[in-house]
Structure formats: structure tokens, C-alpha cells
Amino acid sequence: MSSQVPIATGRSSTGIPTGKLAVWWVIASEIVIFGGLIACYLLYRFRFDHWSGFAGKTDTLAGAFNTLVLLTSSLFVVLAHQAAQRKDTKDAFKYLWLTIGGGFIFLIVKAYEYTSKILHGYTFTTDNFWSFYYTATGLHGFHVVAGMVIMAIISFDVRKGNNLHRVENIGIYWHFVDLVWIFLFPLLYIAK
């Protein structure tokens, strides 16, 4: 009984499906979390000139490559959504896993970046710049991992033809994760 979906979930007084509405509210709450972190970073950034020197030490090329990877994976998730809309479960499954693959490449590059930074002596506690660098990219990476896990769970459901609307919901979330990176990349890598 408790596993049964309540009637409330199927209602839609606003006309927007409930799942999609909830994803938007999740994103709203995430925006203020990342917004708070980025605002703190900027407050310090304007105060300390020596941070631009540290920003020069970040791997802009790896960051740019990762931006490209995330944007491509966002394209895949759009294709997955289109496939789900035409009820092509096989294609949707394929594109979801391509998106997850994009996430994997992103994380591998991230791991390489972290390793080389730590080997160069820029650890978590070297300076507040690096604390922000690891905290912000780490929190973003955590969201990437979460998105990948949810997508993997959804993908098997989708292959069976169930809950196809969830492809769009995870897609919205994935775009958001992408968007956060679009903010982090110039702030941590490019601006010197």
C-alpha cells in the first residue's frame, strides 16, 4: 500500500507535471547554495590581489576541455529526451548512457587536474583560493556524480518503457549542473 503512488501525484492544477515542477524547485534551492558559495568567493577575490596569480595556476586547457565535454553531454541528454518523446526507448537508453559517459570523462579530467595540482603543492589548505577551488569544483563534481547515478537508475526503467517523463526531468537537472560549470569555469580558471 505504501508503495502505491498517491492520487495527489497525478494531479496538475498548474498544468505543469508535478515531477518537472519539483525539479525546478530543487534547482531553485541549489541556485542559492551555489550562489552563496560563489558570492563568498567573489567577495574574497576582490579583496586579495594575489588570487589572480593562483588563478593562473589552474589548468585552463583541461577546464575548457571539460566545458566542451559537459556541453556535449547536455546535447546527448536533449537527444535522449527527444527519443523518449517519440517513445524510442532504445535510443533514449543509448543517449542517457552517452550522457553518463560524458560525466565520466569530466570526472577523469577532474581527477587528473586535482592530482597535478596536489603534486605541484596546491592542496586544499594551501590558500583560501585553493580551498574555494576544491570546495566549489568538488561540490559541483558531487552533483555530476549524483546526476549520473540517478540517470543510470532511470535508464533501466526507461528501457522497459516506464516513467519516460523522467528523462526530461533529469535532463533539466543535467543542464543545471552544466550551467553551474559555465559559471565556475570563468571564475576559477579564466579570470586572472
Binding site: 495527489a8 492544477s13 498548474t14 563568498c40 586544499f124 570546495t135
Partner: protein, 572 residues
């Protein structure tokens, strides 16, 4: 929508929930249930349990203040460290583990689906997860009382560097556990809030338009949005503080370029809207109760909504009035004085609307009504004394004195104690299907409200005499160690003990009525809102036939009708 509701009714009667219900084991029915009513009760009982802990703490430290240095019966000696830990955790518990879970989570969970006429929250499993995270957060906080080094004692505001570095706070485990507990609690309420907002937006009964939603549902939803919009930066701040504590980063460490005042901004950017997060549901309770027991339509429903929106928006621009003397640019204080005094306008207006609602009523003094009226009378004191603190000039003197303490207890006690009691006495028949005892309810009312004033009026006077907060023994301060001031402290403590003792009749009344009380009918108060059309207590799935809504919620004493109430779902 029309097709939907008829198919809803079909599928619902098909499922035959009533027979199903009885087969469930105790665990799946009460512990791992996804039913919104059970989860609401879980929040309520957890909140009540935490209130007992918070109440015991206040007993211990008030006794220490009245009789410094003497062993407190049932607690022992209150050392400086124990005193700091007691006041810190009293504040944290009462706001995050009593006011929030009871006003937002318990009432929101129990009432929203019933009042908007659906069977459950839209995401019942996320709802259950929200409670489980909340319970975990409470357990982490309680566990922090027993770790080596003791619980965190750096005030509920947790200003770094004191909170960030163990060499300053001397609680290497208690401080990070406190931060983890608070952060987990935030996650629980973010999940719960998403449920409240989406449920109200999407799962309303057929015909329920924006202005047909009961005020308390509006208030809980707006409070959830306020919470969501304000807690984000503090969430980020909590992560940074936790890293400072455990991984020795230097986000807030001035020795390495960190800024301790940044935390104060993050904290109060959340902390001030948080006041309205708990105030709004309390105002909602009062709106429901006074309309029913005065048999009156709410005066200017839309004005109440607009003032609520205005309050919500302005509440994001007042936070620095907590930091006038904290070293921020003094010119900023002028801006925040203006915004702070501006927020007095919508709040005063809201109170005027409530008082105007009583005009021309037919007031019946049942226990919930007494508590609701006491809320109005007492909250006014909290409101007007806030102006002394919002005005930068007088705040120079009053900041961190007992005047502040008395002021916000005159807001938080009416919110989290008096309004909550109004809600419990009012919705108890719906929650448990039985009535609470009126006589003991009134005993409890007078025994709570009268001592309450005798606690905090002396504390106002102590604040005006310049007594600062969070000091375990005033004998170290010759100007404050006078017998006159000590007498005020003793009066406050005696009144507190009396108030705490008068909670015993409430607890007895509550639990005895739960099992032995007079059986309640579906609509014992003759109220209009949809929850009263469901049986008392509502079964799993709430309604036999889902209600349709034909009118706004407060149509009492409409001229030309035989009955003095007009339920939202009755066709004629």
C-alpha cells in the same frame, strides 16, 4: 481536470484502502509509513520530545542564574562550560528542532493534503526521507551532548573563529557535530519544503482557486519558499565552517586572510527570514482559529496575503540589523535601519487585520481560541520592542543585552508555544478522533500564559539595566550583582518553573485524551475548511469521495443561511 477527478474517485474506491490498512504491521504503519498524517505525527512527537529536552535545559540554566553556584536539583552544578553548552543547545533545539518541525513540518504534513483535498503529499517517499534525515539530525545533536570535550557552547549563532577552531571553543567533537546536525536539518526541510510547495501548487481539489486556499496553507508554503531562498548561502557557509573545523581550511580564519564577519552575513541572511519562516505558520494557525471561534469571515483575506508577500520580500533586506555593531561599515546601518522599520508596517497591518476580524464576531472561548487570542496580545509586545532593536541608535545600547533576549522570546514563545498549543487543541480531534478535555485545557492555558509574562518582563528590566547575555554568573560584575537585580532573576526563574510545571496537565490531557477522550465527530468546531469533511481521524487516503471546492474558506455567518458556517465543499 474534470475527467481526472472522476477517474480518481474510481481508482480510489477500487483500491479498498480500509481493508488493506489493518493488515499492515506496526513498523510499516507507524515507523516507515509514507502516509502524510503519520509523518506529521512523527514530526510532532519528535518536536515535543525535543521541546522537553530544551525545556529541561532552560530549567537548569535559569536555576543557575537565580541561585548561582548552587547545585540544581536534577542536574547538578552548572559550570561555565555547561552553562554555555546549555544556552547554545537550548536556542538551537528550540528553533531548529521544535519550532521548525512542529510549525512547518508537522502541521504542513498533516494539514496541507487534508486542507487542499487530496490523499497524500505528491512525493510520499521523499516526505518519509525528509523525516528520516530530520530524525538523524536530532540524533546527531543529542549524541554531541555525550562526546569527549562536551557539546558545542559557542552560541546558536556559532560565530567563527570561536566555532571554527577547537583551540578556541575547546569542543573538538561537539562543534563539528553541531554543524553537521544543523546542516542535515536544513536538508530535511529543503526536501519537505519542495513537497509542500509542489503539493499545494499541483494537487489542489477541483475548483480550489488561489483565493480559496486556507491562510495556513498559504503561510506554510510561503514560509517554505522563504526558507529555501534564504538557507542556501548558509548551507554553503556550513560546508565552509565544517571544513574549517575538520580539514583546517581558513575560510573564516583572519590569520590567513579569512573573514569572520562573512559568516555573520551568511548566518543572518538566513537567520532573519527564518524568524518569518516560523512566524507565518503561526499567523496561519491564528487565522484559522479566530475565524472559527468568532464565526467571522477573515477581514480582508487578500490584504493578509499581500502583507505576507511584502513581509517575505522585505525580510531578505534586513539581516544586517543583527550586526550594527559587528564592525560592518557604519553607513550600512542606516540602510538597514530603514528596511527594518519598514517591515514593521506589513506585520502591524497583519495584526490589525486579525483584530478587525474579531469585530462583530460571536466569540466562543474554547481553549484553542484562548491560545490564539493570547498569541495576538503577547506577540504585540514582541513586535513593539523589536523597534528599539531595529533602530540603530538604540541598538548600540541594547545589542546582546537581555532586552534582545526578552524581545525575541516575546515573539518566539507566542509563535512556537502559544500558537502551537492553539493548533494542537484545535486539530487534536482531527488528528486522533477524540476531544481534549476543556477544563484542563483552560488550566494549562492560564498556567502557561501568566507565568510567561512573569519570566520575560523582569528580563526586559534586566536588559535595560545593561545585563548582557550568555553569562553564567553575574556575581563577577559588581554593577549587576545587586540584590534588586538578583530578585528580578529569581522572579523570572520561579515563573519559569511554574510554567514548566503547568505543562504536566497538558501532557496528561494530551495522552489520556488520545485514548480515552470523548469521541470526536467529523466537524466538531463547525468549520469550513476541507480537513473537517474527512472522518476523524482520516483513514489512509483521507477522503471517501474527493471534495470539490465551491467557495473561499472563511464564509461564516453568511446572511440568509440557516447555519452560521458554509463548508468549502458544500454545493448549496
Amino acid at each position: 481536470m474534470a475527467n481526472l477527478s472522476s477517474s480518481e474517485a474510481l481508482s480510489h474506491s477500487d483500491s479498498g484502502h480500509d481493508t488493506h490498512h489493518e493488515k499492515m504491521s506496526f513498523w510499516s504503519k507507524y515507523v516507515f509509513s509514507t502516509d502524510h498524517k503519520v509523518i506529521g505525527m512523527q514530526y510532532l512527537f519528535t518536536g515535543m520530545f525535543m521541546a522537553l529536552i530544551g525545556g529541561f535545559m532552560v530549567y537548569a540554566f535559569r536555576m543557575q542564574l537565580a541561585f548561582p553556584g548552587e547545585a540544581v536539583p536534577g542536574f547538578g552544578n552548572v559550570s561555565a562550560g555547561a552553562y554555555n553548552a546549555l544556552v547554545t543547545n537550548h536556542g538551537t533545539i528550540m528553533i531548529f528542532w521544535v519550532a521548525m518541525p512542529v510549525l512547518i513540518a508537522a502541521l504542513g504534513n498533516f494539514l496541507i493534503p487534508l486542507m487542499i483535498g487530496c490523499d497524500d503529499m505528491v512525493f510520499p517517499k521523499i516526505n518519509r526521507l525528509s523525516y528520516q534525515i530530520f530524525l538523524l539530525s536530532a540524533l546527531v545533536l543529542i549524541a554531541s551532548f555525550f562526546v569527549p570535550g562536551g557539546p558545542f557552547g559557542g552560541a546558536w549563532t556559532a560565530y567563527p573563529p570561536l566555532s571554527a577552531q577547537a583551540k578556541f571553543n575547546l569542543t573538538p567533537l561537539g562543534a563539528p557535530m553541531w554543524v553537521i546536525a544543523v546542516a542535515l536539518e536544513f536538508v530535511a526541510f529543503l526536501l519537505g519544503g519542495i513537497n509542500f510547495i509542489t503539493t499545494t501548487m499541483n494537487a489542489r481539489a477541483k475548483g480550489m482557486k488561489m483565493y480559496d486556499i486556507p491562510i495556513i496553507v498559504w503561510m506554510i508554503v510561503i514560509a517554505s519558499i522563504l526558507f529555501m531562498a534564504s538557507v542556501g548561502p548558509l548551507m554553503a557557509g556550513a560546508i565552509m565552517l565544517l571544513f574549517d573545523q575538520t580539514l583546517s581550511t581558513n575560510f573564516f580564519n583572519p590569520e590567513y586572510g579569512g573573514d569572520p564577519v562573512l559568516w555573520q552575513h551568511l548566518f543572518w541572511f538566513f537567520g532573519h527570514p527564518e524568524v518569518y519562516v516560523v512566524l507565518l505558520p503561526a499567523m496561519g494557525i491564528v487565522a484559522e482559529v479566530i475565524t472559527v471561534f468568532a464565526r467571522k469571515k477573515l477581514f480582508a483575506y487578500k490584504t493578509v496575503l499581500y502583507t505576507t508577500f511584502a513581509t517575505g520580500v522585505i525580510s531578505f533586506f534586513v539581516w544586517a540589523h543583527h550586526q550594527f555593531i559587528s564592525g560592518i561599515d557604519p553607513r550600512m546601518a542606516n540602510v538597514f535601519t530603514i528596511t527594518t522599520l519598514l517591515i514593521s508596517v506589513p506585520i502591524a497591518e497583519m495584526l490589525f487585520v486579525y483584530i478587525a476580524t474579531l469585530y462583530g464576531g460571536s466569540i466562543q472561548f474554547k481553549t484553542p481560541m484562548l491560545f490564539a487570542l493570547a498569541f495576538l496580545a503577547e506577540f504585540l509586545i514582541g513586535g513593539v520592542t523589536g523597534i528599539h532593536l531595529g533602530a540603530s541608535g538604540t541598538d548600540i545600547y541594547f545589542h546582546d543585552t537581555y532586552f534582545v533576549l526578552a524581545h525575541f522570546h516575546y515573539t518566539f514563545v507566542p509563535i512556537a508555544i502559544i500558537a502551537v498549543f492553539a493548533a494542537i487543541y484545535y486539530w487534536f480531534p482531527k488528528m486522533f478522533g477524540r476531544m481534549m478535555n476543556e477544563f484542563w485545557g483552560k488550566v494549562h492555558f492560564w498556567g502557561t500564559v501568566i507565568p510567561f509574562n512573569f519570566i520575560f518582563i523582569p528580563l526586559f528590566m534586566l536588559g535595560m539595566a545593561g545585563q548582557h547575555r550568555r553569562i553564567y554568573n553575574y556575581n563577577h560584575f559588581p554593577d549587576l550583582a545587586t540584590p534588586e537585580l538578583q530578585n528580578l532573576r529569581i522572579i523570572a526563574t520561579v515563573a519559569l518553573v511554574i510554567m514548566l510545571l503547568f505543562q504536566i496537565p497538558f501532557l496528561v490531557n494530551f495522552f489520556v485524551s488520545m485514548f480515552k477522550g470523548k469521541k470526536a465527530e467529523a466537524n466538531p468546531w463547525k468549520a469550513n475548511t476541507l480537513e473537517w469533511t474527512a472522518p476523524s481521524p482520516p483513514p489512509h487516503g483521507n477522503f471517501k469521495v474527493f471534495p470539490e471546492v465551491y467557495r473561499p474558506p472563511y464564509e461564516y455567518s453568511v446572511p440568509g443561511r440557516k447555519e452560521d458556517y458554509w463548508p468549502q465543499d458544500s454545493k448549496d
